[in-house]
């Protein structure tokens, strides 16, 4: 197999169709394919299925398997997870095609993960023929559902089942518009098999896709921003909780500038991507999945808290303060626009004194502008560099040097010794190997200690699976690695063994399309999180703690491991 350097470009191998594509759409599915191209979707991840055989043909023989290019997957859950990972890097959707009800069933957890992570994915489904007279006996009947979209409707932003090629085109335009518009989330368009396969009665009038997918700006009223700025300027102990934000380095720099302007303490969250340099002196504690004691103390001590779309504001305040926070709370978020009655992923209802309905990326520059007239007089001399350019590439400040220092002592074990490995050791060893080379973590396990690795760029860490659905790690890693291909960044995922085993066949897509990726399995041979829960239950019920491993350990046999047995063909 040819080798591709990480900086060698974004292209991946493509299965090249024979023949010459027809000059104009001839079938309903040709219109669908043509619309995907008009929407500039680069890839369509799929597991093939007869329900979308018409679309499959159009992708190959009408579009020539490019723009979008197929990404063949071994499981529908991986197809969506790959799109999820791609969106984590780019902020843009990839298309996914899912076969009938059964393929959609396979994909549901991954769709839920993308939904909870507020990531865009444009999902195509298929069913039918809706017209029962056209169905083949048996198989078309079991793969036809009256309201297939109902399977995922509670956790997609929008869904539709268009009845004609023209309606399908409009549905795809609308789907793209919804999935890309904040707050982002997956969308689902279900294509009737008959609509796909029927000859096109007449050519459709041309359209310009961009006119049907306009950018939507969300700017908060100036007086609300001024009020927030005034609250922050009056604060004696301001604190930022920075949650869901973009991967834009310019927005990252502005968040740093705002924190510096106010001398605000900052906390970030391992549930979502890197949002602030974690070794900056104002970032006062390592990022965690759950609230760390030092973080809780800072939250309880703050007098004004600025939440930039923090994932669980109510729960965080409740845990940190032991009840209702006495701080003034400013919430910057659009997330409420997604909240429905089915899923509780909206978290608890937080106390909020001032609500700014905007994306953090839109609100932060306005807050900085609102501070500008007064901040030079109002702030201490140490804040004079408040609006200075980025320090995101600056070396670790002295105050956190100890926290994030590479701990060489971890390698004190002598060759052939009995030193066993912790997840901390994995981080330390990897960091010693990586040095200062840029990497992106697309996944980290629950056992990861945020203090072991500083994040200094928005692509250093891409966040979690969103919905807590195990098995997402490998697929997200492959999608992120595809998006990072050619960037010079080393894509790295650290997955637990349970996560890896459930999602392992996503790796095939990476090897097939030559997408470089490092996947480290932090293999503790257990569904360890649930061992902790069994220990807790045992203690609460005064039952034997030593039984916590039963029904949890993934061992005996452990032949799935990376042993030399069963090794296949060399690459």
């Amino acid at each position: 197999m040819d080798r591709t350097d990480l900086s060698a470009g974004k292209q991946i191998p493509m299965e090249q169709p024979a023949g010459t594509p027809p000059p104009a759409p001839q079938f309903g599915s040709d219109v669908v394919a043509e619309t995907l191209r008009a929407l500039m979707l680069p890839y369509i991840a799929l597991v093939p299925g007869a329900s979308f055989r018409g679309l499959h043909d159009s992708l190959v023989n009408y579009l020539g398997n490019r723009d979008p290019q197929m990404l063949l997957c071994l499981h529908e859950e991986h197809a969506v997870a790959i799109a999820h990972g791609y969106a984590k890097v780019t902020g843009q959707p990839m298309a996914v095609a899912l076969h009938s009800n059964v393929g959609l069933f396979h994909a549901t957890m991954a769709i839920f993960n993308a939904w909870c992570d507020r990531m865009p994915v444009l999902i195509l489904g298929a069913t039918g023929p809706v017209d029962a007279v056209k169905r083949r006996p048996w198989i078309d009947w079991i793969h036809t559902a009256r309201d297939q979209g109902a399977i995922v409707r509670p956790y997609v932003k929008w869904d539709d089942q268009p009845a004609s090629p023209e309606a399908a085109r409009e549905a795809l335009l609308r789907a793209m518009w919804h999935t890309r518009t904040a707050p982002q989330g997956p969308v689902y368009v279900n294509l009737d098999a008959e609509m796909q396969e029927a000859p096109l009665a007449a050519p459709l009038p041309p359209i310009v896709a961009a006119r049907y997918t306009p950018s939507v700006a969300n700017a908060p009223p100036a007086e609300i921003v001024r009020e927030a700025a005034a609250m922050l300027l009056r604060a004696e102990r301001p604190l930022f909780l920075i949650g869901r934000v973009s991967r834009d380095p310019a927005a990252w720099d502005l968040r740093v500038a705002l924190a510096q302007a106010l001398n605000a303490k900052v906390l970030t969250d391992l549930k979502v991507g890197a949002a602030f340099p974690t070794d900056h002196p104002l970032h006062i504690d390592a990022a965690g999945i759950l609230l760390r004691p030092e973080s809780a103390k800072a939250i309880a001590d703050a007098d004004v808290i600025l939440s930039l779309d923090w994932v669980d504001l109510a729960g965080t305040l409740k845990v940190a303060c032991g009840g209702e926070s006495s701080a003034k709370i400013i919430q910057v978020s659009l997330d409420h626009l997604l909240h429905g009655g089915w899923s509780m992923d909206y978290q608890g209802l937080p106390p909020v004194d001032l609500f700014i309905a905007a994306l953090p990326d839109a609100a932060v520059p306005l807050l900085l502008e609102a501070l500008a007239p007064s901040h030079s007089a109002a702030l201490a001399p140490s804040h004079s560099a408040a609006l200075a350019p980025s320090r995101s590439k600056a070396p670790a400040p002295a105050t956190h040097a100890e926290t994030y220092a590479v701990r060489k002592h971890a390698f004190s074990a002598t060759p052939g010794g009995n030193g066993r490995i912790s997840t901390d050791d994995v981080a330390v060893a990897l960091r010693s190997v990586i040095g200062e080379r840029p990497i992106s973590f697309s996944h980290l396990p629950l056992s990861w200690n945020g203090a072991n690795w500083p994040f200094r760029h928005p692509l250093d860490f891409l966040g979690s699976d969103g919905g807590g659905g195990i098995g997402a790690g490998p697929g997200i890693a492959v999608g992120a690695a595809l998006a990072l291909k050619g960037s010079g960044r080393l894509p790295v995922a650290v997955c637990g063994d349970g996560d890896f085993l459930m999602g392992a066949t996503a790796i095939w897509t990476a090897t097939h399309y030559r997408i470089p990726l490092l996947l480290i399995v932090a293999n503790n041979r257990s569904y360890y999180n649930d061992e902790v829960h069994q220990e807790r239950v045992a203690r609460m019920r005064n039952r034997p703690v030593e039984n916590k491993w039963i029904g949890q350990r993934i061992a005996s046999p452990g032949s799935w491991s990376l042993s030399t047995e069963n090794m296949g063909t060399n690459t």
Partner: protein, 73 residues
């Protein structure tokens, strides 16, 4: 001596064409294997490393999971 370096990854990933290392059970082998795996990725490969880690969380994570008042109810 380093654990064997394979071109695939055992019964789960062996047929998928990735390069695999492991199981890595000793601390002394960890960094050298990761060095090889990173080099492979830089050459364009998909690399999977099976590291046998001890179970356990950070003290902060354990505290958050087990403190009274942070569970249900």
């Amino acid at each position: 001596m380093l654990p064997p370096v394979g071109s695939c990854v055992g019964s789960v990933t062996g047929a998928q064409g990735a390069q695999g290392w492991g199981p890595i059970e000793g601390l002394d082998a960890l960094a050298p294997v990761l060095e090889q795996a990173v080099r492979a990725v830089q050459d364009g490969a998909v690399a999977v490393v099976d590291v046998r880690v001890l179970g356990g969380y950070t003290p902060a994570m354990t505290a958050a999971l087990t403190q009274v008042g942070r569970d249900r109810g």
